[in-house]
Every structure is written in structure tokens, then in C-alpha cells.
């Protein structure tokens, strides 16, 4: 048999390997147990909440945006939240935490949509708010909006 014919058969044989195969055991019980514990992705609602926090933190103005997620198989995302110091004023700790969460969510969203310029704007504003919290003197909390 010529090399050409053998190669044809060989390639054809490889293509025929691409068939479905059944696992030797039923994997569903294990999957079912794992999905009962596995949180489902809900990035965008969190992001909307993050934007809400941003707006309520004051000074951000009116931001209206719509999210269109075209990514169907996004890779796992790593937490990339910045590490900020706590504000001097303890009454601002909760707001600081909210802004940190918002910042982390925005950074994760940016990893999924690196071309989304509006996310960069939101992230900059969030970090700006967080920076201002740090710079707020402990005695000036009454002036916070």
C-alpha cells in the first residue's frame, strides 16, 4: 500500500476517533452534590449594585449605562482588589468597605471586558471616592454627604 493511501486511511482513522463516549460511571450524583454548593455567577447585578454604591457615595453625578455581556465562556477571574488603608474616621468604615467591594467588582468586570471604557471611568471615580475617604479627617465626618 502506498504512503499516500496509508496516510489517507490514517487521517480518516483519526477523524473517526472523534465520537462520543460514555463515562464508566454516572457522574451526575457528584455534579449534583457540587452544584448544590457552588455559587452561580452573578457579576452584573453586583456591578449594578456597585454603581449604586458609587452614586450614593456622592459626587459621582448621574451615570447611566447599559451592560451587554457577549462573553459566553469567560475564564475564571482572580480577585484584583486594591488594598486600601482604613479611613481615620470609624464612621466611614462601612462606606469604605462598600467602595472597596465596588472597586473589586469593577476590576473583575474589566478583566472580562477590557475594552469597556465606561468601566474604566467608573473604576477611576470609585477609587477617587475611596481616596477622598482616606483624606477625610476624623473630625470632619459631619460634613460628609
Amino acid at each position: 500500500m502506498s504512503d499516500t493511501n496509508s496516510e489517507f486511511q490514517w487521517r480518516s482513522g483519526l477523524r473517526q476517533l472523534g465520537t462520543a463516549a460514555e463515562p464508566q460511571r454516572d457522574l451526575w450524583p457528584s455534579i449534583q452534590a457540587r452544584i448544590a454548593l457552588a455559587p452561580r455567577r452573578s457579576r452584573w447585578p453586583k456591578l449594578v449594585a456597585a454603581a449604586g454604591v458609587l452614586l450614593s457615595a456622592g459626587g459621582a453625578g448621574v451615570v447611566a449605562w447599559h451592560v451587554h455581556s457577549g462573553v459566553e465562556d469567560a475564564p475564571e477571574i482572580a480577585s484584583t482588589a486594591l488594598e486600601w488603608a482604613q479611613p481615620e474616621n470609624p464612621k466611614l468604615a462601612a462606606a469604605a468597605q462598600d467602595l472597596d467591594n465596588a472597586s473589586a467588582q469593577l476590576q473583575q468586570a474589566l478583566e472580562q471586558h477590557p475594552d469597556a471604557v465606561f468601566l474604566v471611568g467608573l473604576l477611576n471615580r470609585t477609587n477617587g471616592q475611596r481616596m477622598r475617604l482616606l483624606q477625610t479627617p476624623a473630625a470632619s465626618d459631619d460634613r460628609q454627604g
Binding site: 500500500m1 504512503d3 496509508s6 496516510e7 486511511q9 490514517w10 487521517r11 482513522g13 483519526l14 477523524r15 473517526q16 476517533l17 472523534g18 465520537t19 462520543a20 463516549a21 460514555e22 463515562p23 464508566q24 460511571r25 454516572d26 457522574l27 451526575w28 450524583p29 457528584s30 455534579i31 449534583q32 452534590a33 457540587r34 452544584i35 448544590a36 457552588a38 455559587p39 452561580r40 455567577r41 452573578s42 455581556s69 457577549g70 462573553v71 459566553e72 465562556d73 469567560a74
Partner: protein, 193 residues
Amino acid sequence: MDGAALSMNLPLPEREASTDDAAALVRRASAGDVRAFERLYRDHVGRVYGAILRLVGMDRARAEELTQEAFVRAWQKLSSFRGESAFSTWLYRLGVNTALMDLRSRRDEANVDDAALEAAAGGEVPFCAAERGDLERAVAGLPPRARAVLVLHDVEGWKHEEISAELGMAVGSSKAQLHRARGLLRRALGGEA
């Protein structure tokens, strides 16, 4: 436990879900219906497991582990499925990605010398006809990265551009790996003939 144990004995569905059925199942599963997701699992596990099995060199235990992982990831990401491709395609790609992520996390071949690999692949061994079992064993015996490229290209029908994107390599590297993999395969099959 009883539900899980019972479901182990459930027969596989007699037919593939129609497109409409599949869309309805995806919607229900996306809304949290575990039974709908189980139906999707049973309809699609063969294709996903088959692809993963070939990518991991016919290591059944590893393939089962990665198939479970793929379906858990599918459950978590179902809300991001927009129907821009068929659900079966989305799931299949997710399964392949899961196997490739595992491959990328293993650096067994990082220190393999390219020249040694090239020499091992050879180029003088003629093609030999091979039975399916011989082919499967020969493919399974390839180094993981070369095997992944050969399986994706010659078995699954992917293009080099797709392979290089998924494996994080240049298109030229994908072509070189395929050349090596075919050489190694030819040598393995030639040795058995």
C-alpha cells in the same frame, strides 16, 4: 443521597433533545432548575466526556474528574449563555477549555528540549494503516501538549488559529506541534506494524 443513588440507575435518554426542548431546558436550568440541568447533562455528557477523554490520553479517571468540573462550570456560567451558538457547542467548548486549563496547569513538558522532541518525531518512518485501538493508544502516548494539538486539529477538526488561541501559543507553534505529533504518531504506529 437516595435521589443521587436512584439517579445513578436512570437510563440515558432515548433521544437527543430537539432544539426547542434544549432551549427550554437551558432557560429552566438557568433559572435554577436542577432537573432540567440533569437532562442537559444526560443529553450532552457523551460528547463532552469523549473530547476530554481524548485530550487527557484516555485516562478515564481524569476525564471523569474534568467532565464533572466542566458541568459544574457550565452550571455556574449558564446565565452567560446567550444562545449565540448552539448550547451543545457552548458546552463542548467549555469542556475542552476545562481540559486545556488542566493541561496548561501541568508543566511536564516545559523542559522538554525541542530538538530532542523533533528527533523523536523523526520524519522517515512511513505511514502505516492502523486499527482504531492502535490509533487511540498511539495518540494517548503522545506528550500532552502535542497530543492536545493533534486531537484538536486531526480529530476534532479545529483550525490552528483556534488551537493557538486556546493553548496560548503562536499559530506557528501549533503547526510545529502538530508536525511533531504526527511524526511521533507515525513512529509509534510504524513500530507496532
